[in-house]
């Protein structure tokens, strides 16, 4: 009898790239729920927009590049990129923000570099950075937490606001938008106010960080821990990033508490947890060696603190990650593990 042949190993785990991506998406769910709870349904509208754009763009580019469309569309990576990008956008941003951002992420940052596995920069963060630089006004108007807003928008009103930028007659723009806590902190600190004065006067600040933000970050932390438990991501990047951000901000806070917020505030603000567990851990653009990952994560933590405290942009995760993406190959090269049987 004749048999089929193949080269060893003949067996394989049941995990595929799709499994990995689906788990990442599942890990995002708690954070998304918290997000919608505090900032309304704008997220859902933008998610729908970004996902559609991402898949259409991916389809077109794969067709142009003559790639196996079915194989690559089902890998789930485009969905992850779309979700991560949307989670960095203001919930009530106009529709073309998420569309252009996604297009840039998929077409330029991903496919033009060679597609899955070949992009040096995190596509979602590249898309975000492009938007922030090109459309600073749209990108910095944030939605007020629903609990603080005098009036709330219905889902239909939200869709209208996103697509045609009109609000119902009885609602003013000021009623539904506010700066983010990190924003306020930065502008007020520049006016030489103390941290204590700022956090006590503005209603946006909760007991640990900004209203809503503390819970959203907590939910992303939860989803992230699940990813570590499921071994989708290793602890190295998130662990070292959070420890480094926490330590540095603790030292600064202890030295000058009136200028520097507490480490807890840093850890539970903006995109800290999302960045630590979902963005910085993007395997394609992070180092692959354990030591490389620790240096990578710790550097991002330090950069986040520096950019938040001294930089021009309110949140820092995107730029910190993009900066570190540039040194990933170098980190990989200099942190190779010692091979079995070679000198210690």
């Amino acid at each position: 009898m004749e048999f089929r042949t193949a080269s060893s190993p003949h067996n394989h785990v049941r995990t595929s790239v799709t499994t990995v991506m689906v788990r990442v998406l599942l890990g995002l769910v708690p954070g998304m729920i918290a997000w919608v709870y505090f900032f309304g349904t704008g997220l859902i509208v933008h998610l729908a927009l970004a996902l559609t754009t991402a898949y259409l763009a991916e389809l077109a580019l794969l067709a142009i590049r003559r790639k196996a469309i079915g194989l690559f569309l089902s890998d789930g990576s485009a969905a992850v990129t779309a979700c991560l990008l949307v989670l960095a956008l203001p919930p009530m941003a106009p529709w073309w923000i998420s569309v252009t951002g996604t297009l840039f992420a998929i077409v330029v940052a991903k496919q033009l570099y060679g597609g899955l596995g070949f992009n040096p920069f995190n596509p979602a963060m590249a898309g975000y950075a492009m938007l922030l630089v090109s459309f600073p006004r749209e990108m910095t108007i944030w939605t007020a937490p629903l609990s603080l807003a005098p009036q709330t928008l219905s889902f239909v009103d939200t869709v209208k606001a996103i697509f045609v930028q009109t609000l119902p007659d009885n609602i003013t723009v000021d009623a539904v938008t506010m700066a983010t806590p990190l924003d306020i902190l930065k502008t007020e600190l520049a006016l030489e106010k103390t941290v204590a004065a700022i956090t006590q006067t503005s209603p946006l600040f909760g007991s640990m960080s900004g209203i809503g933000w503390e819970w959203i970050n907590g939910a992303f932390l939860l989803g992230g821990l699940w990813l570590i438990y499921k071994r989708v991501v290793s602890w190295h990047v998130p662990g070292s990033m959070l420890v480094s951000l926490g330590l540095i901000s603790l030292i600064a806070h202890l030295i000058a508490p009136e200028q520097y917020v507490s480490p807890l505030f840093h850890l539970l603000s903006g995109a800290t947890m999302l960045g630590a567990f979902f963005i910085a851990t993007d395997p394609v653009t992070a180092p692959t060696t354990p030591r490389g990952r620790i240096v990578f994560g710790a550097s991002i933590g330090a950069l986040v603190f520096v950019i938040r405290s001294y930089g021009g942009y309110p949140d820092a995760v995107a730029f910190a990650v993009l900066l570190m993406n540039m040194v990933t190959p170098t980190l990989d090269y200099y942190t190779q593990p010692r091979v079995y049987g070679h000198k210690r």
């Binding site: 009898m1 004749e2 048999f3 089929r4 042949t5 193949a6 080269s7 060893s8 190993p9 003949h10 067996n11 394989h12 785990v13 995990t15 595929s16 790239v17 499994t19 990995v20 196996a68 194989l71 690559f72 890998d75 990576s77 060679g114 597609g115 899955l116 596995g117 070949f118 290793s234 395997p283 394609v284 992070a286 692959t288 060696t289 990989d332 190779q336 593990p337 010692r338 091979v339 079995y340 049987g341 070679h342």
Partner: protein, 555 residues
């Protein structure tokens, strides 16, 4: 009581084991067949040389192949009968090639040749013991097939501290060592005593994975009262049975790259080998049969059989109720490191530990590969602590220097990386390919080197002749000018010219040349691997399945 290992090895995987498929029944002795095919090349090293001729009658256990060269062992008739043919027959090899075999027709008498037992081996010179083991045709029965007598030689300068008996059997499906330990523990332990004596080892560790409680128990009972001999129950993890990983798990020591366990005072033997050594010394029987696991959904009665070396696979499968129509792949060895056979017409050899007749559900075809997403799952699993994703990158880029910088030759081809890769990349396939490319390149270089040496030699000769001519001319001139014959100076000039030419040639030769790491001073195993891959390279183009897997993701 068995102990737990004090150390551990890096990486590894936990594939589903499927061991109980074949452990339900006791070891079953295969009935006598009509025909046996005995490949002359069954071990790492040189093949045996036939010492019988066609038509000759031989007895069971009679030597039919002679050990040729140092890394070689003898080959014996598995039963009594006549030599039907000596020539090329299919052998179990991934290439599906034919190779030199001795074909025997059994006469049904199964008559033994005269066996000389040596029960008082303790009074026998260890070098004589080694010779008997060699003449008995014993090779490592764990699967690698390295001639065992070499590993009974402690060398002159090294003291053997630990003899490790490998009963790990970490590959899925394979249970031949397990069943042997359950049923023939006394033989194994008797063999261990002999090996220990030959090596003068201080202590013996018998390593068994903890998924074989019955084997652990029976070996423990058999070693009761032995001094400095203990069973170590290792937590199950693939590839713990690999020599390097086992040494690391048991002793915390690492075998230096490109060295043998001997360098750290350790020798590792397989438990099946111990049983064979017992038979060779205490009963005088050479290796003519072995235990083989016949398993998988492709056979109706999976179990372990004791089969004579040379039994045609078809016969063994038929004996176990197979292959069924659903059988898609026939794998010799386990699913992690075994190789798929084209057909079942080849015979089993000394290293055949398992025949896995797998259905498509058991061993599905590898799907298309995606590009590497650098997730690092492979490097987390690599027991050699390599960076498989980087090796893959450079293998794809055909950057043969860079891939050696990333220590390609420390890869033991265990398959853990490809097993876990979410992108489904046939990584090991790429590494094998890169290794053969490097070896091919080395051979090219050697050829070039030879040509260069020839050229140098010629150059030396030409220069010498030129110098001689000059000297002759000078002599003639001198003779014209003076009447005195000057033979002596002429020889001097000639000698000097030759010396100078040789000096120049030597300088050229001594100029430093770049040699890649790891390709010098090859061990016999590596040499064997080179030969095998060379054969594969020549013979087999990657089959369609692999090709699609390898080329789908990129380009």
């Amino acid at each position: 009581m068995s102990t737990r290992p004090l150390f551990s090895f890096f990486g590894g995987v936990h594939p589903p084991m499927h061991k109980d498929v074949s452990t339900g029944q006791p070891i079953d002795v295969m009935p006598l067949a009509e025909r046996y095919i005995l490949p002359l090349h069954q071990n790492i090293g040189q093949p045996a040389k036939p010492v019988v001729s066609v038509g000759e009658r031989v007895l069971k256990g009679q030597r039919i192949g002679h050990a040729e060269g140092y890394v070689s062992v003898a080959l014996h008739a598995p039963t009594s009968g006549t030599i039907a043919d000596i020539g090329a027959y299919p052998v179990p090899h991934p290439s599906g090639l034919s190779d030199n075999c001795i074909v025997m027709t059994a006469d049904g008498a199964d008559e033994w040749t005269e066996c000389v037992a040596l029960p008082d081996y303790e009074n026998i010179n260890p070098s004589h013991l080694r010779n008997i083991v060699r003449e008995a045709g014993i090779v490592g029965l764990g699967g690698a097939g390295f001639p065992s007598f070499i590993k009974l030689n402690p060398g002159t300068h090294k003291k053997i501290d630990t003899l490790i008996m490998n009963g790990i059997e970490c590959e899925p499906y394979i249970t031949c060592d397990d069943m042997l330990m359950r049923e023939r523990a006394a033989e194994i332990v008797a063999g261990i005593r002999i090996i220990r004596h030959a090596l003068q080892a201080n202590r013996v560790l018998i390593a068994i994975e903890d998924n074989k409680p019955q084997a652990i128990k029976s070996i423990e009972e058999a070693i009761r009262g032995e001094s400095a001999m203990e069973v170590v129950a290792c937590p199950t993890r693939y590839p713990q049975g690999s020599e390097k990983q086992l040494v690391e798990a048991l002793t915390g020591k690492e075998i230096p790259s490109e060295a043998l366990p001997l360098h750290v005072g350790i020798v590792v033997h397989n438990v099946g080998t111990a049983a064979a050594v017992y038979r060779a010394i205490m009963l005088g029987e050479p290796l003519t049969s072995r235990i083989i696991t016949v398993t998988g959904g492709g056979v109706a009665q999976p179990r372990n059989v004791e089969a004579r070396i040379g039994t045609v696979i078809e016969d063994i499968l038929a004996h176990c109720g197979g292959p069924t129509a659903e059988t898609r792949k026939l794998i010799m060895g386990g699913p992690m490191m075994g190789f798929a056979l084209h057909s079942d017409r080849a015979p089993v050899v000394k290293t055949t530990n398992c025949l896995l007749a797998a259905t498509a559900e058991e061993i599905p075809d590898r799907g298309p590969a995606l590009p590497c997403i650098r997730c690092g799952a492979c490097s987390d699993a690599c027991p050699a602590r390599l960076l498989p994703q980087q090796l893959f990158w450079y293998a794809q880029a055909k950057d043969l220097d860079k891939i050696q910088e990333y220590n390609l030759f420390d890869c033991i081809e265990c398959g853990c990386c490809a097993y876990v890769c979410p992108s489904n990349i046939p990584l090991v396939h790429y590494y094998r390919f890169a290794k053969t490319e490097i070896w091919a390149r080395e051979r090219e270089k050697e050829k070039a080197e030879l040509a260069r040496q020839r050229f140098d030699f010629r150059q030396t000769r030409l220069e010498r002749e030129k110098a001689e001519r000059a000297a002759r001319h000078k002599k003639k001139r001198d003779e014209l000018h003076s009447e005195e014959p000057s033979a002596a100076p002429a020889t001097e000039t000639k000698k000097a010219a030759i010396l100078a030419a040789m000096e120049r040639a030597k300088k050229k030769k001594d100029a430093p040349r770049i040699t890649p790491a790891n390709t010098e001073a090859l061990t016999p195993q590596q040499q064997q691997m080179i030969e095998e891959v060379e054969q594969r390279r020549r013979q087999s183009r990657p089959n369609p399945e692999q090709q699609s897997a390898a080329s789908n993701g990129d380009k």
